[in-house]
Symmetry: C2
Subunit: 379 residues, 2 copies
């Protein structure tokens, strides 16, 4: 009797308006959607132990191809048994293609039909990232969900430039798909990325071409790069209806709690962002009452925790006075506790969204939650 | 019926040569001796959660009066319920007097009969630390074991300067004792500090005078400040026999695993040092096979953990290859894991010493362990 090969799949459980409750099945476990993926840039979600990420409620983490190809190197991670073993995360991992970071961090970059040539921001060494190499790296890492290489441009951009980059990304999608078909293991999935800046027509052409290529999942890329919240939402409203209902939809690199609520309301299933950990390292805490700046003197003698109702020890057991002291003193523990509390808050937020969708009260929940979250603005 | 007041006390359980197995009773619990106290300078053992410090086997931690008086301030900590609640450590806490850090960190310091005037290294604000104020601060913090203010001088020093500082420290000991008698709670203890640089005669005069004043415990101060390992041990050999057998003996600010073995062999019961956490932040790991430098390329593809037999997850569950990557990348998790592993190693070392003394094989254990620890030198 032959054992069934592990399969990737998306299951839609419930809808409430455009918001979707679902599950992504991977060989390494289920991802409950809508899902927020903590970012483990360099094979570590900054300042957290992997057990804390899991216990916070995360089903999946993201890692960055650009960072890992430069340090410690994809072949080295493969020799060490792959990224899951290396970083001690046995759940699903999504890797990006490296394209976005090449644009934001790489030096002397040159885009050609073949790919992107650039110099490492770590040591200046020369590198070439092609659609084929990006997939090869992600297969060496052993990523469960992989992303095609795309060309990310800065916004605002000329339409001609946005069109050229979108068309190039389409050709790279086909090359990525061909390489993935050769290298990937059963159950791994390659997602395509819809590009086209903020131009509805370009976005439509990108989405239709990619849907015709039949990827197992679709990302919306090139947003949250300076276009503004409203423009981002209008672009999403144009793109998401073009994507297949039976596939997961991933909004890349977004965002604030408000961004997450609004994008889920528009049918997004997955997102990722460095905000919870980066803000944690900068002394900012996300709570159900809004965002707190622990540097502020008003917290110096406050014995209350961030959130007595949280199941996260960092939010529940440590006083704001102590957090204020740690942040002001530049202590590691301040960054550790706030990154942990923020990571847990983001997962609480997603769990609340999933529950609201299941109970068909997402719109009312979203209105009330947006009011709550607006109460404090860096108090 | 009147409830018995909490009491401080030392109980000698066994001796093996000069090495002692014992217990210090405090209102907040027992300290098994010989004990190593992790250093929580600014109300946090750097890069560790308090639960990790406890689980590593530590019964007691040290906090620095100098740092806490400047930030967040002793009165603030008192208003917040004391240092134990503030830093979430419910076991015993020992605080130093601030004297040592005033000398090493304070600016424009002036020593007079009254005390030490200095400027904060944080914000330049002027402060005066007297023997009375040092005790008052430690009582505001709620420290279980407190230290008298002493004058710490740099070594090498002229004999006349060492004698003057030792005599001044004796007068400060008497003033500290008088203030402590007024301010302390039942069960708290104030330790005296034997000074006298590396001069045997000065050390003897200091010890005899302090013993006559009947403190509940005695520290040996002013060592491990550049005099060298052998001179430190000779000084200890002169001082320890002068101290009462029924009181605990504390060697301040020492040291390496070798220092700890040699000082316990000479009758020391307690010590503290920043080495485990500071070295951890610098990529160095203490193990039973010696000290490793995780920056070294030889670890880059080593899948072995620091110590598969350790009960500490940081030492047992993470590969050296991953630690190498984290350290080279400057990731928080590298400092977190190595500080944790080193803190656990120091506690394992003390537990092994206590077991060896109980089994009357300390000398043989020490010889074998010193050989083991010398095998690797920053490999």
């Amino acid at each position: 009797m032959q054992e069934a090969l592990p399969k990737f799949g998306y299951r839609l459980i419930a809808r409430d308006g455009a918001a979707r409750l679902g599950e992504i099945a991977t060989p390494r476990g289920i991802v409950r959607t809508p899902a927020f993926m903590p970012v483990g840039t360099g094979a570590t979600v900054k300042a957290l132990y992997p057990e804390q990420v899991r216990d916070a409620g995360a089903d999946i983490v993201l890692a960055n191809t650009y960072h890992l190809m430069l340090r410690p190197g994809a072949e080295r991670i493969a020799r060490l048994g792959g990224l899951h073993a290396f970083m001690r995360w046995d759940g699903p991992i999504l890797t990006d293609s490296g394209g976005f970071q090449v644009m934001s961090l790489g030096k002397l970059r040159q885009v050609s039909e073949d790919g992107v040539r650039f110099q490492s921001h770590v040591d200046g060494s020369p590198h070439m990232l092609t659609p084929e190499r990006a997939v090869e790296i992600q297969c060496l890492l052993g990523a469960d969900i992989q992303m095609q290489l795309d060309e990310c441009i800065e916004l605002p951009a000329e339409r001609a430039q946005a069109e050229r980059a979108m068309e190039l990304s389409l050709r790279w999608a086909a090359r990525s798909q061909a390489t993935f078909a050769k290298l990937a293991k059963p159950g791994q999935a390659l997602f395509a990325i819809v590009q086209g800046a903020t131009d509805a027509e370009l976005r439509r052409r990108s989405a239709e071409a990619l849907v015709a290529m039949d990827f197992p999942g679709y990302a919306v890329g090139g947003l949250a790069v300076g276009e503004g919240h409203e423009v981002m939402l209008r672009t999403l409203e144009g793109v998401v209806p073009l994507l297949p209902k039976e596939k997961p939809r991933y909004l890349m690199g977004v965002g604030t709690p408000l961004d997450l609520i609004e994008s889920v309301a528009r049918g997004i299933d997955m997102s990722d962002c460095v905000l919870p950990t980066r803000n944690g390292r900068h002394g900012l805490a996300f709570t159900w009452a809004g965002r707190l700046n622990l540097r502020n003197a008003c917290h110096a003698e406050d014995p209350a925790p961030l959130d007595p109702a949280s199941s996260c020890p960092a939010a529940r057991d440590y006083s704001r006075a102590y957090l204020h002291h740690l942040v002001k003193s530049g202590e590691y523990l301040g960054s550790m506790l706030l990154s942990w509390a923020n990571t847990a808050f983001y997962q609480e937020l997603m769990a609340a969204m999933r529950e609201a969708i299941a109970q068909e009260r997402f719109a009312a929940w979203a209105e009330e939650t947006k009011r709550r979250l607006a109460a404090l603005q860096d108090a």
